[in-house]
Amino acid sequence: MLKALAPGFLLTVVLAAVSYFVSTIHDALDALVIALIAGMLFRLLFGGQSWFVLVVAYAKDLKDVLIPIGVLLYSATININKSLTLPINAYIHMVVSVAVLLIVALVFGRLLKLPPKTNWLTAIGSAICGASAIAISSTAIDAKDEDISNSLIAITLVGLIALALYQVLPFVMGLRAEDYAILSGATLHQTGIVKIATSGLGEIQKSIALPVKVLRTALIPFIALVFFYITVEREGYKKGTGYLLLVLIAFFVILGLSAFLPAFAALSKMAGIKIATTVIFSIAFANLGLLVDFKTVRLKPIIVAFIAWAASLGAFMLMI
């Protein structure tokens, strides 16, 4: 079995290490986004090779292990304290954006007759925290590979489109740097993309954009629990999903420790721990990218994710 494990293990570790080193070249490059896209591209390029079935199988089997570990480690590095000192308008924008992204995606997904779980994951990925939220929730709702592929591609593609438009839109609209930081943190799909979009803002990125995004990230366990409950109500309890509850509880505990225990928060800020966390989470993201099968990709989830993002941008502009 070790022989069968080797291709997937080595590939994800190499992709993660390379992604990490690439991310050190420039502040705007994010290891997780690079690892996710690298995983997707690798499957697109080599998915037809016979040996690649071992890689995809490894990615499927390890998803439920790697992602929770990555998310828990990541939660240890989240500094929720900064998010607790944000100005009140940042909270309002964040709550409105999450609500608009979630509701609009769910409604339009239904109108366009998306499969329910693809619709849920697209909505969750748009509203909360991109790939991590999709990964955790996909286990919670027992999603199929096509649901994960379609939602991941939709939020990654729309996230990159939004990132490109945010290089121009805020200046056209005359947004202040603080408002742009809130807009990015409240409406962009992944922390990495928020980092890239706000890399030119200096201290404002750290004091506003990322803390706003952290608030959305902290919603992962709540949203995963809600959809877990809906799935259990509809389909009954499925054996093997119980451990997810433990992961979600651990997420809450770690968030609490980093917020209220200064020694724990200091530990999680150590450079070595941050690097290890980033590399391990990048392995999880490369693994997630390898699950994306472009053959099953449909246009509708991308349309839904785009409409939801456009609606959240519209809501934001109405409020400022």
């Binding site: 079995m1 040996w51 490894y58 499927k60």
Partner: protein, 68 residues
């Protein structure tokens, strides 16, 4: 009677921790996608021999207690 091949595939899945990896390994060993084997897949003595050999190698067992 169809279904014997499906029982071998199910046995491998049920007795593996990394289920997808075990079936992917089996796919490479027998040269066909075992996940597409269904209850209605016709029995085939030649294939069954290959499936059992692959199952033994993957599960590292000399004997399989499959109830046909």
């Amino acid at each position: 009677m169809p279904g014997r091949l499906k029982k071998i595939v199910d046995y491998v899945r049920d007795h593996s921790i990394l289920k997808n990896l075990a079936l992917a390994n089996m796919k490479l060993m027998v040269g066909e996608d075992v996940t597409e084997v269904t209850e209605d897949t016709p029995d085939d003595a030649e294939k069954e021999k290959k499936y059992i050999e692959a199952a033994k190698a993957i599960l590292k067992k000399d004997k399989l207690d499959i109830k046909f």
